[in-house]
């Protein structure tokens, strides 16, 4: 086994490191607000007391309870984050910019495909374009060497995926595609 294997990184490794107290504090604030909003919306739902004879079967009871629990737990998370130094102001760290760029690329391409192209152009074409764009975008940084070949391969993979998925799902498994 080569030494390169030791450098290989698990996609699950990141899950072991805990989130920062600052991130927890911001999350807690968002979740707390969400919980309160749920409680407020649940409170405004009709109660149907005349029909059921009891207010306990009102549609807002269950989501109201979940909203209250979310707020409560978010409050505990926030307090814990503050105790761990979530308030402390730190200099912004410019790290992992490559990670952010890759994530943004994947997310934008995904939304463009599933949210914009699908349903507007034939599915095989949308899929072929998406796979081609995705593969090309992520393989572009590998340098000019053999770039043309990689682009051609990406186009073939895209076309193959679009046609194969359409054939398998529509013709073989008789499913409707968008």
């Amino acid at each position: 086994m080569s030494e390169a294997a030791q450098e290989a990184e698990s996609p699950f490794d990141g899950e072991k490191a805990p989130a920062s107290p600052r991130a927890d504090l911001v999350t807690a604030a968002v979740l707390f607000a969400l919980g309160i909003a749920i409680v407020q919306q649940a409170w405004n739902m009709p109660r149907f007391v005349e029909q059921s004879g009891t207010g306990l079967t009102a549609p807002g009871i269950v989501p109201g309870f979940y909203g209250a629990m979310l707020s409560l737990l978010a409050g505990v998370l926030g307090l814990r984050a503050m105790r761990r130094g979530g308030w402390a102001v730190r200099a912004a760290r410019a790290k992992a910019t490559d990670d952010g760029r890759r994530l943004l690329t994947a997310a934008v391409l995904g939304v463009m495909y599933a949210g914009v192209l699908v349903g507007r152009v034939p599915f095989w074409m949308a899929s072929a374009l998406f796979v081609f764009a995705f593969t090309t975008a992520f393989e572009w940084d590998q340098g000019p060497e053999r770039r043309l070949r990689r682009v051609v391969e990406a186009a073939l993979i895209g076309l193959g995926t679009g046609v194969a998925v359409t054939m398998v799902f529509e013709k073989l498994f008789l499913l409707r595609l968008p």
């Binding site: 290989a8 989130a19 059921s52 939304v111 495909y113 699908v118 008789l174 595609l177």
Partner: protein, 498 residues
């Protein structure tokens, strides 16, 4: 045909007839490939393949999905051993000893141990399922709305407190899932909650689009965010499992099988916890403790047996209570509902033979897995070398098809995208996903049974606490919740020690 043995034979006849073996062959293969590819998990595999099964009969569909589930959990160990990368989170424990064995030039032997452990584990769990699920199903018939409410509550609490490192985040994820399940029309008054006049929202968020988003889209984003994984090739020695490895560590195999099945049967815990628990128990009891983490055959055997025994274990509560034991089992349960099979206590009355058909499916899947374990080493190495930039867009296309196919609504694709984004953010913030999924799945069960119970009792809440089984489940739920409060478990341990 009420004799269990006859029903078991009938189950095998049913599963083995009509070209079903062909389906088992391709489905296990797909499962192994999905499991072996880092970033693709068993949950995602079962969710994506559910789409393919829409046109199939319910039994063939279940066979395909069970095979994918069994195959994916096993497949994860390939990359764990060869690349030091768990193909699925369930195989993380296998890297500890699998990869050191591979570095010692024993990659083939490690895969043989993995195959043997996984095969015995699934078989062990399947025997437990066959022995206990029917009688537990009959016992569960006594459960009314009050008890089912507590079953759902217990599921959320146990998953929240045990499925991730941080119980607080586990509970939050669980309640978020429960909230998602409340969107749309409720059953008592047909009132559309959180719909704001939108017809699509009034119909509720589909389970499959949400699951495909949380486990598919979120995983694509996670995989693409990090730097490329360096793939390696390795010289493989013999992959034939040695009977001596199993017989020498028979105690470890039995212990891991029992632990894995038990953890599988607990709502929402899943294969990764089963593997880690089995590994830790084996290390504690081992005479060769110092070898653990340095290429211990016993350690790898324990992890593999535990995670694979968890698969049948996780199906036990699906069949008997309609409560999934793991995230892939949650998707399997959703697929059962889509195919008109009603998992839960009534299954023991409406179609008792189905439990034995599932047993037969698990055995067939296990046998096919063994077959592939012996022949499918070199081709899997090539598959592991597929660059993620070429694989992930294809996965994304399949996710989109999966989300759309069930109801043919473009709205479901948006649900998938939204769930994927939220799932990714929550994962980045270290919220465990199992309680979230369990919340979404159990939300409907909890909501309906709470409201139905209150209607039956005329608004009186006391039956939730005074009926014998209800009371027992309530105590269990509160105890599980208290256990996760910092300091309580330690206090109890100190008292016991004193």
């Amino acid at each position: 045909m009420t004799n269990p043995f006859d029903m078991l034979l009938g189950g095998f006849a049913h599963v083995l007839g009509g070209g079903a073996v062909w389906h088992a062959l391709w489905a296990v293969l797909i499962g192994i490939v999905i499991g072996a590819l880092p970033g693709l998990t068993a949950t995602m595999g079962v969710a994506l393949l559910t789409t393919l099964t829409f046109g199939m009969g319910p039994n063939v569909a279940m066979l395909v999905l069970v095979c994918v589930y069994v195959g994916a959990i096993y497949g994860g160990s390939r990359s764990a051993i060869l690349l030091n990368i768990p193909g699925t989170p369930a195989s993380a424990a296998s890297t500890l000893d699998g990869f050191p064995l591979a570095r010692q030039g024993l990659a083939g032997r490690a895969m043989g141990i993995s195959t043997a452990g996984s095969w015995v584990g699934t078989l062990f769990g399947t025997v437990i399922l066959a022995l206990f699920a029917p009688s537990f199903g009959e016992f569960a018939l006594q459960f009314g709305s009050y008890e089912m409410f507590w079953v759902a509550m217990f599921g959320i609490v146990i998953a929240g407190s045990l499925s991730g490192g941080d119980p607080l985040k586990g509970y939050i994820a669980g309640f978020l899932g429960l909230f998602v399940a409340t969107i749309g029309q409720e059953t008592n008054h047909a009132y559309a909650r959180f719909a704001y006049g939108n017809g699509d929202l009034a119909g509720g968020l589909g389970l499959l689009p949400v699951l495909v988003g949380v486990f598919g889209v979120a995983e694509v984003l996670s995989a693409m965010r990090g730097p490329a994984v360096k793939a390696v090739s390795s010289k493989i020695d013999s992959v034939i499992p040695r009977i001596g490895d199993v017989t020498k560590y028979w105690k470890t195999v039995l212990r891991s099988g029992a632990l894995g099945t038990f953890i599988g049967a607990m709502p929402g815990l899943g294969e990764d916890i089963a593997a880690w628990t089995s590994y830790a128990a084996a290390k504690r009891a081992s005479a060769e403790r110092e070898k653990f983490g340095r290429g211990s055959i016993e350690g790898l055997m324990a992890a593999e047996t535990g995670e694979s025994a968890c698969v049948p274990g996780a199906i036990i509560p699906v069949l008997t209570l309609a409560v999934p034991g793991s995230a892939p089992a949650a998707v399997l349960m959703a697929a059962m509902m889509i195919h008109g099979l009603n998992p839960g206590p009534m299954l023991a009355i409406t179609s008792p033979e189905f439990i034995y058909q599932i047993v037969a499916m698990l055995v067939v899947a296990d046998m096919v897995k063994l077959f592939y374990g012996l022949i499918l080493v070199r081709p899997l190495l090539w598959i592991l070398l597929i660059p993620r930039a070429r694989l992930m867009p294809v996965v994304f296309v399949l996710c989109t098809v999966g989300a759309f196919a069930i109801t043919s609504r473009l709205f479901d694709i948006w649900v998938m995208l939204g769930a994927g984004l939220v799932g990714f953010i929550l994962r980045e913030l270290r919220f465990p996903m199992a309680p979230l999924v369990l919340g979404i799945v159990l939300g409907d069960l909890l909501d309906k049974n709470l409201l139905r119970g209150l209607v039956l009792s005329g608004g009186d809440v006391t039956p939730f606490f005074t009926r014998p089984i209800s009371m027992g489940l309530c105590v269990l739920t509160l105890a599980a919740a208290a256990w996760s409060i910092p300091g309580v478990a330690g206090l109890l341990r100190r008292r016991r020690a004193a």
